[in-house]
C-alpha cells in the first residue's frame, strides 16, 4: 500500500497554515487585521471567539473563497486558493450546504464523482461514500432526502461531504452546533481519529468553550485580531485560570483594558 504522504508533491513541511500580516476588508469593515499565526500539521486547532469576530472570514480566506485577502497566506505549502489545493482541503460551512432534494447517498455520490471522476473509480467511490456515511452515523438515513432530515442530521451530511476524498486539511465552521452531547462527543472522537490515523490537520471553529479543551492548539480571536495562539494548558497556566473559558474571558478583559488605556492616553 502506498503511503499517503509519498503522494504529496511538495516537500514535507510541519506547517499546514502560515499567515503573515493577513488583512481582509469587506466593504467599509476591516474584518481581519494583520493576522500572524501558524497552524501545525496533523493536529486539531480550535478557532475560538465571539460571533462576528471574523472566524468565518478567516476560514473562507484559508479555503480560498474569500475575495480581497492581502498579506501572505500559505496553505499546505501553496498560496491560498491555488487550484491544486481544491482536492486537498475539505470545507464545511456553518449552514449545511447540501442538496435538499437529493438523498444522503445521492448527495455524497455526486460530490465524490466531482472529486474522483470516471468509471474506473466507481468501486472506490462507492466504498468511500459508504464509509463516510458510517463515519457521521447516518447509515440508517442513507436513503432519506436531505430536506427531510433534522437540522443536526443535515449538518452531518454537510460534514460527510468534506470527509470524502481524505483531505489533508479539514476546515470546519462550527460543526457541532445544535447537536446533542452524545453526538458531539462522537464527532470529536472522529475528529481526533482523523487527525491521528490520517495525519490530517483540522481547523475547527466553535464558540462552545468546553470543546476547546479537546483541541491540541487554540487560536483565540476578537474583533478581527488573534488574541492568543497556544495550547489549552499553556493558556490556562498563563492566565492562572481553571478552564479555557475563564482564560479566554481573562484575555478579553485584558485586551479591552489595554484598548481603553490607549484611548485615555491619546
Amino acid at each position: 500500500m502506498m503511503n499517503y504522504s509519498s503522494v504529496r508533491s511538495d516537500p514535507p513541511d510541519e506547517t499546514a497554515i502560515r499567515a503573515e500580516t493577513v488583512n481582509v476588508v469587506r466593504g467599509t469593515r476591516h474584518v481581519l487585521r494583520d493576522l500572524d499565526f501558524t497552524v501545525p500539521r496533523g493536529q486539531i486547532t480550535g478557532l475560538l471567539g465571539p460571533s462576528g469576530c471574523g472566524k468565518t472570514t478567516l476560514m473562507r480566506a484559508i479555503v480560498g473563497t474569500q475575495a480581497k485577502v492581502t498579506g501572505t497566506l500559505d496553505i499546505l505549502g501553496r498560496p491560498a486558493g491555488h487550484p491544486t489545493l481544491r482536492t486537498r482541503i475539505g470545507y464545511v460551512t456553518q449552514a449545511p450546504s447540501v442538496y435538499d432534494d437529493l438523498t444522503v447517498r445521492q448527495n455524497l455520490t455526486y460530490f465524490a464523482e466531482i472529486l474522483d471522476p470516471g468509471h474506473a473509480a466507481a468501486d472506490r467511490r462507492h466504498d468511500n461514500v459508504t464509509r463516510t456515511i458510517a463515519d457521521v452515523d447516518l447509515t440508517s438515513h442513507a436513503d432519506a432526502l436531505a430536506g427531510n432530515l433534522s437540522g443536526g442530521q443535515r449538518s452531518r451530511v454537510s460534514l460527510a461531504v468534506a470527509l470524502l476524498g481524505t483531505p489533508e486539511l479539514l476546515v470546519l465552521d462550527e460543526p457541532t452546533v445544535g447537536l446533542d452531547p452524545v453526538l458531539r462527543r462522537d464527532l470529536w472522537n472522529l475528529f481526533h481519529d482523523i487527525a491521528a490515523s490520517r495525519g490530517a490537520t483540522l481547523l475547527i471553529s466553535s464558540h462552545v468553550t468546553d470543546e476547546a479543551e479537546r483541541c491540541h492548539r487554540l487560536l483565540l480571536m476578537r474583533e478581527g485580531r488573534i488574541l492568543a495562539d497556544d495550547t489549552p494548558d499553556a493558556l490556562r497556566t498563563r492566565t492562572h485560570s481553571e478552564t479555557v473559558e475563564a482564560a479566554f474571558l481573562h484575555l478579553v478583559d485584558e485586551a479591552t483594558a489595554a484598548a481603553r488605556a490607549k484611548e485615555t492616553t491619546r
Binding site: 499517503y4 487550484p83 463515519d135
Partner: protein, 263 residues
C-alpha cells in the same frame, strides 16, 4: 459510530481542464435526479406547453391559417420561457444554498457546471419540444411545409438560449421573487418584438432595429422558414446559427458570473 480506516490510496485527481466530460455528465445526472424528486415540476414543464397549444388551436378555430403562424412560433418560444424559468431558479438555489461555493472550492470547472446544467435541461427540452411538436403536427393539424426535425432543432436551440439567459440573470437576483420578476423583464420585450403579433417589418423602424438584435426574433424567423419552405433555406441556417451563437455567448457571460472568490 465507526472509526475511520487507515489512509486510502486515492490518486490525486487530474486538475480541472476547460471541460471534463465525466464531471459534466455527473452534474447533468445530478440535476435530473433532483428533478425526479419533484414530479410536479416535470409534469408542469411537459404538459403546460401542450395545453397552451391545444387552447390556441381552438381559440383560432375559425382561422387555421393564424394557428399555423402563431403555433409554429410558439413551438420555439415555449421551450425558451420554460427553460429560462427553471434554470434561473435552479441556479439561484445553487447560489443561495452554499452548494455553489462548495462546488467551486472543489476541482469542478465552471464550464463543467454550466455544461452540466445545459445538458440536463436540454434533455428535458427535447422531451418537451417533441411532445409539443408531435401534438401540434399530428393532433392539432398544424400545417408545416418543412421537416418536423427542423422545428425540433430550432426548439432545442431556443431551449438552450433560455437556459443560458436564466443562468445569466440568476447572478443578478438575490431571491426567488426577483428571479421570477426577471421573466417579464427579459422575456416579454422579446415576445412583443419577435414578430409573433405582427411582422417585424411592420413595426416602427426604431422597434424593428431593436428586434433585429434580440435573439428571440431569429428563433421565430427560423420557425417561420420551416413553416413556409420544404428545404433548409439559407435564412434558416442563418437564424439557427444566430440563436446558437447567442446561447453560447450568454452561457459564457453566465460562466463569468460564477466566482470562486466572493466578498
Amino acid at each position: 459510530m465507526t472509526t475511520t480506516t487507515s489512509p486510502t490510496t486515492t490518486p490525486r485527481p487530474a486538475l480541472t481542464g476547460a471541460l471534463n466530460l465525466a464531471r459534466t455528465t455527473t452534474t447533468a445526472a445530478r440535476v435530473l435526479r433532483q428533478l425526479r424528486h419533484d414530479p410536479r415540476t416535470i409534469a408542469l414543464m411537459l404538459l403546460v406547453p401542450c395545453v397552451m397549444l391545444f387552447l390556441l388551436r381552438y381559440v383560432f378555430d375559425g382561422n387555421p391559417r393564424t394557428f399555423d403562424n402563431i403555433g409554429a412560433s410558439l413551438l420555439g418560444i415555449f421551450p425558451l420561457i420554460t427553460m429560462f424559468l427553471v434554470t434561473s431558479i435552479a441556479t439561484l438555489r445553487e447560489r443561495t444554498s452554499g452548494t455553489l461555493e462548495r462546488l467551486l472550492a472543489m476541482p469542478l470547472g465552471k464550464g463543467d457546471l454550466i455544461a452540466g446544467y445545459a445538458l440536463a435541461f436540454g434533455t428535458l427540452a427535447i422531451i418537451q419540444s417533441a411532445l409539443a411538436t408531435g401534438l401540434a403536427l399530428w393532433f392539432l393539424g398544424l400545417d408545416v411545409t418543412g421537416s418536423p426535425w427542423l422545428l425540433l432543432l430550432v426548439a432545442l436551440l431556443d431551449a438552450l438560449l433560455g437556459t443560458a439567459l436564466g443562468l445569466f440573470v440568476s447572478a443578478f437576483a438575490a431571491s426567488e421573487f426577483q428571479a421570477v420578476q426577471f421573466m417579464p423583464a427579459v422575456i416579454f420585450p422579446q415576445l412583443l418584438l419577435c414578430g409573433l403579433f405582427t411582422p417585424r417589418d411592420n413595426m416602427h423602424p426604431a422597434l424593428e432595429a431593436i428586434s433585429n438584435v434580440l435573439p428571440m426574433s431569429y428563433a421565430v424567423d427560423g420557425m417561420n422558414e420551416v413553416l413556409k419552405h420544404t428545404d433548409m433555406t439559407a435564412n434558416f441556417v442563418r437564424d439557427a446559427l444566430i440563436v446558437a451563437g447567442c446561447a453560447l455567448l450568454v452561457l459564457g457571460l453566465g460562466a463569468a458570473t460564477l466566482r470562486r472568490r466572493t466578498a
